[in-house]
Structure formats: C-alpha cells, structure tokens
C-alpha cells in the first residue's frame, strides 16, 4: 500500500535572476512500513523531496499524494492539520523547543492535538521515552543533553502521534559517527517494532547501509532506486 506517491514532481527556485532546478521530474512511491534512505551529494534535491513529502513546500509541477490525498490544493490550516496528524519530523539540528524539558518536548505534538487526557498523554510519552532510553533525563532541558540524546528526543517526539510517515532530514549530520550509527539503528528498530514508515536523507555511505531501500539522487533526478533484503 502506497503511503507516498510523487508524480513527476518538479521544483524550481529563483536565485536573483537565475533559475535553479532543485527537482527535475521525480516520480517515486513509498510503501507503508518502508525504511528508506534518500541519498545523494549536497544540492542533489534530498531535502527538497523531504519538504514535499512533509507538506512544508509545494512542487512547481507534478503531484504529491500522501496517504492517498493530493496535498496541492490544501489550505495552510489544512496542511498544518495534515502534518500534525500524519507526519513526524526529525531535523538535522534536532530543533527541540529550548524552553521545554525532555518530557514536554515529546509531549508537545500531543498537546497540539488537544484530544487526549493528561493520563493518556503520559502513557504514550513514557512508552517512547523508554524506547529511546531517556527515562533518567525527563526533566532535562535540551541544552543539558548531548547531541545523540537530543536526537533521541526528536525521534520520540516524531513518533508519539503515531504518524503515517516519519521524515528525517540528515538526522546524523550533526552527530559523531558512532552516535550517528546508534541513532539510525534506533530508527530501524522503531521501524520494525512500530511498523512506522521512515524516510531519511543522508550523504553518508555508511549510514545509508542501514536502509532497506536507497533512492539515489543527482542534480534533481533519481539516478538509482535499490532495495536491499537485509541491512
């Protein structure tokens, strides 16, 4: 079953008078439960694809369907609601809310939903806190955590709403190699246990080895789409 479908997606930017073709006609489908890496050098269009899938940028041409819905004509409010309920984000720079502690950062997307009781929120948050092994850091603020710990908080935050897809834009770029591998391993475990579709971008060949499918980009085009039976 397709979770994401990109149909001949193009994205052009204007830098001054110069037109930059970030994506030059990409078609791609992502199935439920996939653990997929989008690989490619800097400027190849990795982040742009993630932005399209994450409903935070619009294509210049082509169609983007998430969970069967064409997101092109959704209003800002509808897109916001869509992101809140169906998409999880893991950022390269972690992007935790600096004034909230670990528990509160993870709880934040649930609070935006305003549908759960405090007890329900606590149950969900604690489940993911245990999964990312941050039980002893609940009261710590982001600036009191290491890079790896911060990214684990971001992973838990992306997962608490049980999204259709989790997008991670170069999640290991700001981490040392060993921590980066641990984070990707954790993402992989979560993909297996939670059956969450997980798409991450990377230009690190060692990191992309963890993925079961690697889509390689160059100059805004898909140059390879490889599936691996076991990583």
């Amino acid at each position: 079953m397709n979770v994401v479908e990109l149909v001949d997606v193009q994205k052009h930017y204007l830098l001054g008078d110069t037109r930059v073709d970030a994506l030059r006609g990409i078609s791609l489908t992502i199935d439920k439960g996939e653990f997929l890496a989008i690989a490619g050098p800097s400027g190849s269009g990795k982040s742009t694809i993630l932005n399209m899938i994450g409903c935070i940028d619009n294509p210049s041409a082509g169609r983007v369907l998430i969970d069967g819905t064409d997101v092109e004509h959704l209003s800002d409010t509808e897109l916001t609601r869509y992101r809140r309920t169906r998409i999880g984000f893991i950022f390269q720079s972690f992007n935790l809310i600096p004034v909230l502690n670990v528990y509160e950062n993870i709880e934040f997307p649930l609070l935006l939903r305003r549908t759960l009781s405090r007890r329900e929120r606590e149950r969900i948050v604690m489940r993911f806190v245990e999964e990312v092994q941050l039980t002893d850091r609940l009261k710590n603020k982001p600036n009191e955590l290491s890079g790896g710990q911060r990214q684990r908080v971001a992973i838990a935050r992306a997962l608490v709403t049980n999204p259709v897809i989790v997008l991670a834009d170069e999640p290991t770029a700001n981490l040392d190699s060993a921590t980066g591998h641990k984070i990707v391993e954790l993402m992989k475990v979560i993909n297996e246990t939670e059956k969450t579709t997980l798409v991450f971008s990377t230009h690190d060949a060692h990191i992309m080895e963890h993925a079961r499918r690697v889509v390689s980009l160059r100059d805004g085009l898909v140059v390879a789409d490889e599936s691996r039976s076991a990583a």
Binding site: G54, R83, S93, N95, I97, V99, F108
Partner: protein, 462 residues
C-alpha cells in the same frame, strides 16, 4: 497551558533583555498612575478651590452681558442682573442649593488725605452683603480691624495698602474715613464717605485677592446710584437690550415701534441693587445642570455659566497642566511600545527555527500568535503591577503632606500651598488598560512576522 509555559520560560530565558523592557514599563506605569493622580488631584482641587473662593458651582449673570463674566475680569463694567431678588429667592428655594450670594465687581477711586491735601488711589473691589459673601467664600483672613459684618465700609488688602504706601505715599488704617468716587450709569461722579473696617490677607489665590478689596453692598449701591431701579421693564425692552448685547444693531430693533408702557407700579424700590452676578453653591456638584436648566425655564433675562466658564484662565491652567502630563505619558508609552516592538521582532528573528519547528509539528498560526501575545502580556502586566505598587506607595506618601509645588504654579493651579493628593482607583485602571492596549499594539507587527514564518524555516535552520 502549554502556550503560557512556553511564553513564561521564553521570557525567563531572555531575562536580561526583558528586565530592561520591564523597567521601562514600570517607569511608564509609575508616570501614568502618579501623573494621572496628580493631574486629577489638581483638577479636583482647582475646581473645589475656584468654587469655594470665587464662583460657586455656577454663576448667574445678565442675559445682556456681551461676554461670560468672570470674577477676575475688571476691564469691562458688567450689566446689572435683572430681577436679582426673585432669581436669588428662586435659587435659594431649590433643594440642591446650599447657598447663594449676589455680588458686584467694580472699581472706583479713593480720595485719601495726605500732607499736601489728598491723593486719589485706584480701588478695585467686590461689593456684596458681607454676611452672605463671607459665609459662602472663605477667601480672606482679617489681620487688622473687623470684618465688614461689623458695619458699612471697606476692607483693604494688606498688599494693596503696602502698594499705596510705595506708590502714593499714603496708607489706610482701620477707622480711617475716605471718600470713594464712583462713576454712575448716567455719567456723573458720586462721592461717598466710607470707613476702613479692616485689613485682610488672602487665604487662597493671593495672585488675585492681593488686588481685590471689598465694599459692603449698601455703600456700593449708593455710590453708583443703583438704589431702586430694578424690575418692571417691559419684556420688549428687555429683549431688545439683550439683542443689543449680541450686536450693536440690535438696539435699532426698538425703532419704529412702541416698546410698551413702563408700569411704574411694578418698579420696586429696593434697598440695594447693582449686582452683576450671583454665585450659586450646590450641595452636590453633580446637580448643577439640573438646577441651571430649571432656572433657565423660568424665563428671567439671565444666563448662567459653569464655574470653569467663569474662571476660564484658572481652569485652563489646570487643563493645560493635565494635557502636558498626558502628552508626556503618551510620548513615553509610544517610545516604550516602539522599543518593545523592536525587541520582540529581534526575539522572533532569533527564534525563527523554534517557530518553524512548532509550525512543522502542527502548530497553527494562532498558536504562535498566542505564544507571543502571552509573552508580551505576562511581561507587561507583571511590570505594570510592580509600577502600580510603586505608584501607590508614592501616592500614599504624597497624601500625607501634599505635593509641594513652586509657589507660582501652585497659585494658578490650586490657589496656593501644597497640592492635596486625591487617591482614586481610576488612574490604576487606566494604567492597566493602557499597558494592555500598548502591549497588544506592540505585538501586532512582531506577530505578523512570526506567523509568516513557515515550517521550511525549521528545515533550513541549521
């Protein structure tokens, strides 16, 4: 709840910058509350002072008068109030009226004997029934001799007497008999021997009462030939005289037609006349308009003027001071609002990634708006409360001794002495409303900036 949590902690995170803003708001609040309290106090004191010393709550004057008379203006002789006795009786019968007094303001010369014969010195005065006048107005203190209630004659201001000494080489003493010279309405000069009953000093408004003296009404009436000439004029004549006060041409309305016969039987012989105004003191100032309207409905050829209309210069001084303080406060709040707005914009730019992240995670624009609005209100309302407490302390301290003012300012504003402070809740509520309004105003642009930050900003925030 999460909105307030983020707002409060964001404020604490940037505490050094926010403390500076808070201090500005505290200062602004202090100025607003204390400034408003002082101006309100000045306005109330000024009003009460003028009402108690000069005009009462309102004055009644002849409809023929070209201008609203003022107890301070002596440049134009005022027309006599018609039907003064009936008007006075009507007013005294009103339940809202505490007291009334008819009085006149005029000037004459006093012929004072000296070594070479005599010298004529100018004499500006109020003429009234002393009993009624000094019961209503407590504006002078007798320092030599007796009050005018002791007998007919004049009271002289000590300052004026000193001036006579310096300028004319004469000095009046209690018991002296001098000749007062007055121009009667017919153009003749009347002379009347009057006795100096006492010397006084002003209690309030020394800048006015140093120059004004007093004469009893009976002497005044004789001096200016006012005895027995009021009442009984045909309505058509009164009307034409009133029209003439508006325009010189009005008098020609009388031409070509009879004004009607003057019924001499209606002309009452009155012991005293010539009053140019009646001051009316009310039990409750709030009833002024009702009493004025009731008097107007009687149809007498008289008009009324509020205390502030009859003392426009002094009332204007109080208003000008009030306007200046309001202007200064508004300016400070404008500056604080502008500084705060800029600080908030800088904060928002610094927090682009944070806002973008919230938006990416599903926070709507209204959530972002509420975070920044809460930050602003939390900071400013807290600072406003601190400012209010400081203001309250200052106001309470001021209430004990009054606020000292420079003598000149004090004379014009409240009639002299320290300004009594009137404590009221109004300035505190005003300050809170102003701070809340300024806070909302200050966040309009920053919030516009914040809500336009897209989730893409979070992705790009490296």
């Amino acid at each position: 709840m999460i909105v307030f949590r983020i707002a409060l902690r964001s404020l604490l995170r940037r505490r050094s910058r926010m403390i500076l803003i808070a201090l500005l708001v505290v200062f602004g609040t202090l100025l607003l509350v204390f400034g408003t309290t002082v101006t309100r106090s000045a306005a109330v004191t000024s009003r009460n002072s003028i009402i108690r010393n000069f005009t009462g709550d309102f004055i009644v004057y002849a409809a023929r008068s070209r201008e609203i008379p003022s107890p301070f203006a002596f440049n134009t002789p005022l027309p006599v109030v018609p039907d003064v006795q009936q008007v006075n009786e009507f007013l005294s019968a009103q339940p809202e009226v505490e007291a009334t007094v008819a009085f006149a303001q005029n000037y004459s010369l006093l012929s004072v004997p000296n070594a070479t014969g005599s010298v004529d010195v100018p004499f500006i005065f109020y003429a009234a029934d002393p009993e009624s006048y000094f019961r209503m107005f407590e504006n002078v203190r007798i320092v030599e001799g007796q009050p005018l209630t002791s007998g007919p004659g004049i009271l002289i201001s000590r300052y004026q007497n000193d001036h006579y000494q310096k300028r004319y080489g004469v000095r009046l003493s209690v018991g002296d008999q001098v000749t007062a010279l007055g121009l009667s309405g017919g153009g003749g000069v009347n002379a009347l021997r009057v006795t100096v009953r006492g010397v006084f000093e002003p209690v309030h408004y020394a800048n006015v009462f140093n120059y004004i003296n007093f004469m009893d009404a009976a002497s005044y009436s004789q001096l200016f030939n006012f005895t027995g000439v009021s009442g009984g004029l045909p309505a058509r004549l009164e009307k034409a005289l009133a029209a003439a006060s508006e325009s010189e041409e009005g008098i020609f309305d009388l031409a070509g037609s009879s004004v009607g016969s003057i019924d001499t039987t209606k002309l009452r012989a009155e012991a005293v006349s010539g009053y140019t105004m009646i001051a009316v003191r009310l039990k409750d100032h709030a009833t002024m308009e009702a009493v004025r309207a009731r008097l107007a409905a009687q149809g007498w050829p008289v008009k009324t003027a509020r205390w502030d209309q009859a003392s426009s210069f002094f009332a204007n001084v109080a208003s000008a001071v009030q306007a200046f303080i309001y202007f200064a406060t508004a300016l400070i709040f404008l500056v604080v609002t502008f500084i705060f707005m800029n600080t908030l914009v800088i904060n928002i730019i610094e927090r682009t990634g944070e806002i973008g992240t919230m938006r990416a995670l599903g926070a709507e624009r209204s959530f972002v708006r509420n975070v920044f609005l809460s930050e602003t209100l939390l900071l400013n309302v807290a600072a406003c409360l601190v400012g209010m407490i400081a203001s309250l302390a200052l106001v309470l301290a001021g209430r004990r001794t009054g606020i000292p003012l420079p003598e000149t300012v004090s004379q014009y504003l409240v009639g002299g002495g320290p300004l009594p402070v009137v404590l009221s809740i109004g300035p505190f509520i005003t300050a809170l409303l102003v701070v809340v309004a300024a806070s909302i105003l200050a966040t309009l642009l920053p919030i516009r900036v914040a809500t336009r930050i897209t989730p893409l900003a979070a992705m790009n925030d490296r």
